[in-house]
Structures are given as C-alpha cells and as structure tokens.
C-alpha cells in the first residue's frame, strides 16, 4: 500500500458523507412521523409505526441493505416501472435501508424524550386549556434538547453503518479499502487507513455535537 492508495480512500469519503447525510435527513423526517403516530396513539398508524420499528430494530442492517438492493429486482413489474430508475441505483438503496434503520432507532429515542418531559408541564398545558397540538408545540422543543446527546450517538452509528454499503458495490471509504486489499493483499494497512478516516470523521462529529449540546442544554446549568 502506497500514499496514492491512501488518497484513493479519500475519494470514497464524499460518498460516505453523502450517504450519511441523506440517510439522516430522510431518517429524521420519518422518525418524527413515527414518533407522532406513537405518542398520539393514532389508530392504525400507531400499529404500523410499531411494526416498522420492530422489523428495522430486530434485523441486521446488512440484511436490510441486501433486501432493498436485491429484493425489488426480482419483480418484473418493478423493473419496468419508473421506480426502477431510482431503485437500480445502489446509493439510493443504501440510503433507503439506512434511513429506515435510523428512523426506527431515533423514533424510540424521540418517544422516550417526550415521555421524560416532567408530568407538570403536561398538566400545566392542560390547565391552560391547550389543545393536543398546542401542548406538543410546548413539549417537543423541551424534549428535543434532552434527546440531543443520545441522538449524536445515532448519527455516529449511521456514519459507521454506511461502511456496509460497500457490499452492494458502492465505492465509499470501505469500498476503496476492499479494492486496495484485493489488489495489494495489504489488509492491515488498507483497513487501518480506512479505520483512521472513520475515526477522524466521528471525532469531528463528536466535537460538533458537544458545542450544540452546550447551547441546547444551557438551561440545565
């Protein structure tokens, strides 16, 4: 393994970050939907949300990625529909799988945070005659601040989870590490270098979230 190989790994970094960003974006939107369905106990949707969470927290991420990538291609109908324009792209498949995976875990975090808001706040809203929607508008910002530390953990898990996307031909950091290992047989260097890049990225994420937490949790100190 040479220095050229090391720079090759950085080619994959943009793909890794791209998948992480879009997975988190769609995942968090989906997570808010799932949380609202559960907290408000909307009939039908509540059950659907719990089923989605059960499936995506109960199966390995690698299987989810494989299923999204290879599953739809088995159906002629899907292969000839407009959906295939999107599903034929490995990157989109990885983002779908990761987004659902992170949504399942984050919605549990969000739900726990809403429930951990002191009972008194709920009662106060009720006493003022607020509707359910008005109450949530008060409670949710408080809950979001509490969820930040555990959500930063989820972000790191997603970034690391993207490495599994290399198994469906995506050339992210891990994909290039695999290729370098295949060509040079220098497994130790190839995967160490990739590991260092992931470590660096996660270090930066931790620092960013530390700053955010300082601001968001200022009311506690």
């Amino acid at each position: 393994m040479t220095l050229d190989h090391f720079w090759l790994l950085f080619n994959g970094l943009s793909t890794t970050l791209e998948i992480t960003f879009f997975s988190l974006l769609f995942g968090s939107i989906l997570a808010v939907g799932l949380t609202l369905a559960m907290v408000n106990k909307i009939p039908g949707l509540n059950l659907l949300a719990r089923t989605i969470i059960l499936i995506f927290t109960g199966t390995p991420l690698l299987i989810q990625i494989f299923l999204v990538y290879s599953g739809p291609s088995q159906f002629e109908v899907i292969r000839h529909s407009f959906l295939w324009d999107y599903l034929s792209q490995a990157k989109i498949c990885a983002i779908i799988a990761l987004a659902f995976n992170t949504a399942a875990y984050s919605s549990l975090l969000f739900k726990g945070a809403i429930e951990s808001v002191p009972r008194g706040e709920w009662d106060a809203c009720k006493a003022l005659g607020m509707t359910r929607g008005q109450t949530l508008a008060i409670i949710v910002p408080h809950a979001l601040r509490r969820v930040l530390p555990s959500y930063s953990n989820e972000v790191i898990l997603v970034l690391k989870g993207t490495s599994l996307a290399s198994s469906i031909t995506i050339m992210d950091v891990m994909g290039y590490a695999n290729q370098i290992n295949g060509q040079t047989y220098d497994a130790l260097m190839a995967f160490s270098a990739a590991g260092i890049i992931y470590l660096g990225m996660n270090g930066i994420l931790v620092l960013i979230f530390k700053q955010l937490e300082k601001k968001a949790l200022a009311f506690q100190s």
């Binding site: 291609s73 292969r79 034929s88 792209q89 031909t169 050339m171 290729q179 290992n181 060509q183 497994a187």
Partner: protein, 247 residues
C-alpha cells in the same frame, strides 16, 4: 493397564503413519464452469475435478472449503488452507504473496454486454462495468480503461455481477472467457454477447490458471506439479477438459 496403554499408544502412532496425507483446498465456488456448488451442496467444476484427480494420483485425502475470492491468498498465508484452486491467474503481484504450480488452463478474458449496442470495449465509456474484487480482471480494467472513463464496480462474486447486468444496473461484465460463455449459453436469454476480442495480456492474466500454495511449502508444490504432469500424461486431464469445454 500398562499393556493396554502401550497398545493404545502404538496403534495411534501406527494410525498416524498410515493415514493418507491431507490437502486442504480452498476455492470460491460461484464461478461456473470452474467451481460451483451443485444441488447437493457439493463442490463441482473443472478446477475441482482437476484437484480431485491430482489427489487420486498423490493418494492424498482432499477437502474443499469455500471463501470469497479476495480472501483466498490471505487464508493461504495464514495457514488456514494448504492450496487454493480457484481459476486463479499467475500474476507478478500474486507471485510476491504465494507460489504457483504449473499452469493447468490457458485462459482469456472478455467483456459481456447487451447485444448490438457496443462494438469495442471503449464504447462503454461512461458506462458501468462489473468485475470481481481482487481479480486480475479488476486490475486490467483499472489500468487499461482509466482514461476512457469506464466506471468500474466491484462485486463480491460474478453471479451478483451478472444478476445486476440483467437487472440493468450495470452495462457490462468483464470476466474469464469460459465463465462468460457459460453464462451466455445458460442464463443470458440470448440478449447479451461478447464485446471486442478476448484479452490475453500476460502482464495481467499471466500464462493461465495455476494452483497457489504457501511460499514455504515447496514440498506440496512439487507434489502438485507431479500430480498435474501425471494426469496430463495419462489422459485424465483431457477427459476432464472435454467434460467442461467443447473443443
């Protein structure tokens, strides 16, 4: 009691002496017609038959194991297996890692793509071509078509690459000619063909396929070469060749 113990030790020692030599082969069994699993989950294919014939000549017991292609050479180096037979080209990069037996199959590589769309490989500029990770095909495509902007995708196995070719995710697959023709006749449905001439670049594909062994295992290498020579001389090799490749 003492007698019993002595007898036990003696018999076990004798058993060790008479036991046939074991050769642990490793392969990557998603590569018909060279190596694949049949319906009974048994190893089959040209390479496997060659290895079995060599073992019969050497009066050795052979076992086979299945691994991903890019981990075959590492697992030889880590002494997990004795020999790798997996349609493996003799290349300079690999010769730094392992030793190779005599060549038992002369190969060439070819690109498979949709019928009637491309005339030469460089027509696939900007298109996606699938190769298996860690193969000489990958090295050849990376070096030769880097300027042509052929987008290379690495697959863990050629079965997955051909599946994605059919699904329209990639536009071509670059593989060994025998493997490509096997897929074209059995699974392509007549919609695909080879593009351009078959490639036989000795720099990448060496002289052909050979069995790989660990560097410090000259004894086994000599035995395997002797076995290969014998089956080539006594007609066994030709029989196996005729079984898999129509001349």
């Amino acid at each position: 009691m003492k007698k019993l113990l002595t007898a036990l030790i003696l018999t076990s020692a004798a058993a060790q002496v008479t036991a046939a030599e074991q050769i642990k082969f490793v392969t990557e069994a998603t590569y018909p017609p060279f190596e694949m699993m049949d319906e009974n989950n048994e190893f089959q294919g040209f390479d496997i038959d060659i290895a079995r014939a060599v073992c019969t000549e050497l009066k050795a017991e052979c076992s086979f194991a299945n691994q991903s292609f890019d981990s075959l050479i590492p697992s030889l180096k880590f002494r997990r297996y004795d020999a790798a037979i997996a349609a493996m080209d003799v290349t300079p990069a690999r010769q730094k890692q392992v030793d190779f037996s005599d060549v038992y199959y002369e190969n060439s590589a070819v690109l498979v793509a949709e019928k009637g769309k491309y005339n030469v490989v460089s027509d696939l500029s900007g298109k996606a071509v699938g190769v298996q990770n860690g193969t000489s095909h990958q090295a050849y495509m990376t070096d030769t078509y880097a300027d042509e902007k052929v987008l290379l995708l690495n697959f863990p196995s050629y079965q997955k690459a051909f599946l994605d070719l059919k699904n329209g995710r990639i536009n071509g697959v670059f593989a060994d000619s025998a493997v490509a023709h096997d897929w074209l006749t059995k699974h392509s449905g007549g919609n695909y063909e080879t593009v351009g001439k078959a490639v036989t670049d000795a720099k990448y594909f060496g002289a052909g396929f050979a069995i790989a062994v660990r560097k410090d295992n000259a004894e086994l290498l000599a035995k395997l070469n002797k076995g290969l020579q014998t089956i080539k001389a006594n007609g066994t090799y030709d029989k196996i060749y005729a079984k898999y490749f129509a001349k």
